[in-house]
C-alpha cells in the first residue's frame, strides 16, 4: 500500500501527480525544459537521449525502480538502444560503457551530486570541460541530477507502485518522445 491514498492503478509518479495536480504542472514543466527544450539550445551539446541517460543513472543510484525504468526506456528510445543493453551497461559501469568521454565525465559529476552537492570537485568539472562540455552542459547535468534526487524521493518517499511489464514503459517512452511530459497518462496501450 502506498503511504497515502492515491487513485489505484496509476504507475509511479502519476499517483502523487493525480493527487496534487497543481504541483504536477511545474514538475512536468521542469522536466520538459530540462530534458527536452534545452537539448536544442545552441550552447548545449547534450541530446535528449543523453539528458535522459543522466536522469536514469541518478535514479539508479537512488535505487528508484520507477524512474530508472521509465527514463531508461525514454533514453533507449532516443539512442536506438532497442534491447536496453546500453542503459544497462551505463547503470552497471558507465566508465566502460559505449558512450562518449564527455558523457562519462558528466555522469561522474551527476554521481557526485547524487551523493551530495559538495562532492562535485573542480577536477571533475575541468575533466568535463576538457572533453568538450560547455558551461551550459555542466549546469544542466548538475540540475538534472539534483532534480532527479527530488523526483526519486517524491516517488519512493510516498511508496508509490510501479508496473513490472517492460512493454508498458516502452509504450510510454514513445509517447514521451512524441508529446513530452504531460498530464496525460500514456502508460496503457489502447485496448
Amino acid at each position: 500500500m502506498p503511504h497515502i491514498d492515491f487513485v489505484p492503478g496509476l504507475p509511479g509518479i502519476r499517483g502523487p501527480m493525480a493527487f496534487s495536480p497543481e504541483t504536477a504542472r511545474p514538475l512536468n514543466d521542469l522536466v520538459n525544459v530540462l530534458l527536452r527544450s534545452n537539448a536544442t539550445h545552441p550552447d548545449s551539446t547534450l541530446s535528449e537521449g543523453e539528458r535522459e541517460l543522466i536522469g536514469t543513472y541518478v535514479s539508479s543510484r537512488n535505487d528508484c525502480f520507477f524512474c530508472q525504468t521509465i527514463h531508461g526506456a525514454v533514453a533507449s528510445h532516443h539512442l536506438g538502444d532497442t534491447d536496453w543493453s546500453l542503459i544497462q551497461s551505463v547503470k552497471q559501469d558507465y566508465i566502460h560503457a559505449d558512450i562518449s568521454e564527455k558523457l562519462k565525465a558528466l555522469l561522474t559529476i551527476a554521481g557526485s551530486v547524487q551523493q551530495g552537492g559538495k562532492h562535485v570537485t573542480t577536477d571533475q568539472i575541468d575533466k568535463a570541460r576538457a572533453e568538450g562540455a560547455t558551461d551550459r552542459d555542466i549546469h544542466d547535468t548538475i540540475l538534472i541530477a539534483a532534480a532527479f534526487c527530488m523526483f526519486n524521493r517524491y516517488v519512493d518517499g510516498l511508496d508509490t507502485r510501479a508496473p513490472e511489464n517492460p512493454e508498458l514503459y516502452r509504450y510510454r517512452a514513445q509517447k514521451v518522445a512524441e508529446y513530452g511530459y504531460t498530464h496525460e497518462d500514456h502508460y496503457m496501450p489502447p485496448a
Binding site: 503511504h3 497515502i4 491514498d5 502523487p16 493527487f19 496534487s20 497543481e22 504541483t23 504542472r25 511545474p26 514538475l27 514543466d29 521542469l30 525544459v33 530540462l34 527544450s37 534545452n38 537512488n62 535505487d63 528508484c64 559529476i109 557526485s112 551530486v113 547524487q114 551530495g116 552537492g117 559538495k118 562535485v120 573542480t122 568539472i125 558551461d135 555542466i138 549546469h139 548538475i142 540540475l143 541530477a145 539534483a146 532534480a147 534526487c149 527530488m150 523526483f151 526519486n152 524521493r153 517524491y154 516517488v155 519512493d156 518517499g157 510516498l158 511508496d159
Partner: protein
C-alpha cells in the same frame, strides 16, 4: 609589501557576482528557474493546513541535514520571522523530538528527515505516527515533496559551488524578502548595483 595570498571560492561556472547562493543560479537560467520558483511558491506559500512557518521549518531542517549553509541560514531566518522567535527552528535542527512543537509536526519532520536520506528510507511507521497524530494525506504529501524539493535546491546550490555569504545581515535581508515577497521572481529581476 607582498600582496596577500587570497583563496577565492569560485562557482564552477561564471554567475553574476552580486547574486550569491541560489539567486544567481535562478537568474542564470530563467527557463528552469520558473517552474522551480512556481513549485516553491505553491508548496511554501500556497493554501495549506500547515502554517508558512511550519513549512519553512521543513525546508530549514532538510537544508541543515544536507549541510547547505546558504539554504539553511535563509530558511531558518524565514522560519524565525514567521514564528516570531528564534528558538524553535534551532531546537528542531538540534533534536526534533525535544523541540517545542506539536506531536503532528514532530511526526512530519521525521518524515522529512527520512526523505532527506532517501525516498526509500521513509517508513510506514513514520507515516502511521503522522496519521495517528492527525496529519492528513495532503500534509504528508506536501512534507515529502517539500523535503524532496529542498534536496534539489541543496544539491544545486552546493553542486555548482555557489558563494555563501558569511555576514548574518545578508540573511536578515533574504529572510525578510522570502517572507514578505515570496518565491516569485520580482518584476525586472535583480539588476547589478551601480558601480
Amino acid at each position: 609589501m607582498a600582496a596577500p595570498i587570497l583563496t577565492y571560492i569560485m562557482p564552477h561556472i561564471p554567475l553574476p557576482d552580486h547574486l550569491p547562493g541560489i539567486t544567481g543560479l535562478l537568474e542564470y537560467r530563467l527557463d528552469t528557474a520558473m517552474p522551480i520558483r512556481e513549485l516553491t511558491q505553491i508548496l511554501l506559500r500556497g493554501e495549506s493546513t500547515l502554517t508558512q512557518g511550519e513549512r519553512e521549518l521543513i525546508a530549514a531542517l532538510v537544508s541543515s541535514r544536507n549541510c547547505t549553509n546558504f539554504c539553511n541560514a535563509a530558511h531558518t531566518k524565514a522560519a524565525d520571522l514567521l514564528l516570531g522567535e528564534d528558538q524553535t527552528a534551532a531546537a528542531v535542527k538540534a533534536d526534533i523530538e525535544t523541540a517545542p512543537i506539536s506531536e503532528k509536526m514532530k511526526a512530519l519532520l521525521q518524515i522529512a528527515a527520512q526523505t532527506q536520506k532517501s525516498g526509500r528510507a521513509v517508513t510506514s511507521e513514520a507515516v502511521d505516527r503522522a496519521h495517528t497524530a492527525g496529519a492528513t494525506d495532503r500534509e504528508i504529501h506536501d512534507t515529502v515533496l517539500i523535503a524532496a524539493l529542498f534536496c534539489l535546491y541543496n544539491k544545486y546550490v552546493d553542486g555548482m559551488a555557489t558563494v555563501t555569504p558569511t555576514d548574518p545581515a545578508y540573511y536578515d535581508t533574504l529572510g525578510d524578502r522570502i517572507v514578505n515577497r515570496g518565491y516569485n521572481r520580482p518584476p525586472g529581476g535583480y539588476p547589478a548595483p551601480q558601480k
